[in-house]
């Protein structure tokens, strides 16, 4: 049996809705980040094809992919990634980095306060990032198919 990024996102929302403990909020925040991370797998694959930039499978793969998105060149000389779409890809990278910051705090900074607000902002941010990723993937796939 397998799961999807959507399952992870739904899971984070359900833990948040039912949460009573800080550890649950932290778990929800972490799942929200991984939902975005897995959602971005498809975008990463599409961009390997379009720009020739592949994320390696070495350590630091998360930050490598995020930086690849956030620093995506605005002019790739390729029709399917227009400057406007390149800006969207950059925005996704910046957004993922912000959510990663919340997730880092949730998973590694156990002595720091972690509130329901921290968690909710992550979930809201994940929701918006997932929307943007699926939108841009769909556009890139349409161009590829045509």
């Amino acid at each position: 049996m397998s799961i999807t990024y959507q399952d992870l996102y739904d899971f984070s929302c359900s833990i948040f809705d039912a949460q009573t403990l800080e550890v649950e909020l932290r778990a929800a925040c972490s799942s929200a980040y991984y939902a975005v991370w897995h959602c971005s797998d498809e975008l990463d694959k599409l961009l390997i094809d379009s720009s020739g930039q592949a994320s390696s499978d070495k350590g630091g793969v998360h930050i490598e992919r995020i930086n690849k998105f956030a620093g995506f060149p605005l002019n790739t000389n390729q029709d399917r990634v227009s400057p406007e779409r390149a800006r969207d890809i950059r925005a996704i990278g910046h957004m993922m980095k912000m959510i990663k910051g919340h997730r880092f705090k949730a998973d590694y900074k156990l002595d720091a306060d972690f509130s329901a607000s921290d968690c909710k902002v992550s979930i809201e941010g994940s929701n918006k990032a997932i929307d943007k990723i699926t939108q841009i993937c769909s556009l890139l796939q349409q161009v590829e198919a045509s």
Partner: protein, 237 residues
């Protein structure tokens, strides 16, 4: 026998406490009370009264009034640490980071020969306006070792961090939210600095503002070092 606090110190203690709580947690009644006390102070101590009125105006999110009062204080006492510091703090709280940064330079000028003399408040204030390296220079005792390591290895300058705050400034001013707290965490493995600004917004609004910030950043030509090592996150206070 306890010593009775002066009107001035009582008011500034309460104002500092209110700023720490966040503007959105204050009632109109409380703000009115601050305004009344600031006006009373104005009658007995003009400069302190100007400063207090400037701070109260920032609590009311009235940028123009806050600037007007703080400018009056500065005109009367151009080199006063309190006048400059509170002006800069009000501007940083209102999201006018560029004004706050310029004021900070005036504040730090006399301290050039004696770094590490600013308080924890000064440290947080420098961080909240994106002056991480300045905070390191003037408040080294408040900085963590991982942060110093990341800054040293990345050689990330405050000038490279500034565009993040310029993008943030436009969003904060447009959405009429204020900044109350700042938090800084460092991921040593990925050599990343995450600076969180807490704003007077609901978590839903903060999530939307984060996306706006990401979109604004996507239009800027940021240095690759800054993209790699630094980010500002937003959170609901």
């Amino acid at each position: 026998m306890p010593v009775k606090q002066s009107i001035k110190s009582q008011l500034f203690d309460r104002l500092n406490e209110a700023l720490a709580r966040g503007r959105h947690n204050l009632t109109a009644f409380e703000i009115k009370g601050f305004e009344r006390d600031a006006k009373a102070l104005l009658k007995v101590d003009t400069i302190q009264g100007y400063i207090a009125m400037g701070s109260v105006s920032s609590l009311k999110m009235d940028v123009d009034e806050s600037i007007r009062w703080h400018e009056l204080a500065l005109k009367s006492a151009p080199t006063s640490f309190e006048a400059i510091f509170n002006y800069a703090a009000s501007m940083a709280g209102l999201g006018k980071f560029s004004v706050a940064r310029n004021l900070t330079n005036r504040l730090l000028e006399p301290l050039k020969s004696e770094p590490a003399t600013l308080s924890q408040t000064g440290h947080n204030f420098l961080l909240s306006t994106g002056q991480i390296n300045k905070a390191l220079k003037y408040c080294s005792s408040h900085m963590t070792e991982p942060l110093i390591n990341v800054l040293t290895s990345s050689q990330l300058s405050d000038e490279e961090i500034e565009p993040y705050f310029d993008a943030l400034e436009s969003i904060i001013i447009k959405s009429k939210v204020s900044v109350s707290l700042v938090d800084l965490i460092v991921d040593e493995d990925d050599e990343c600095i995450y600076l969180t600004q807490y704003v007077s917004a609901s978590p839903e609004q903060a999530g939307s503002l984060s996306m706006e910030l990401a979109e604004a950043l996507s239009c800027l030509e940021l240095s690759s070092k800054a993209v790699r090592h630094f980010t500002v996150t937003l959170n609901a206070a």
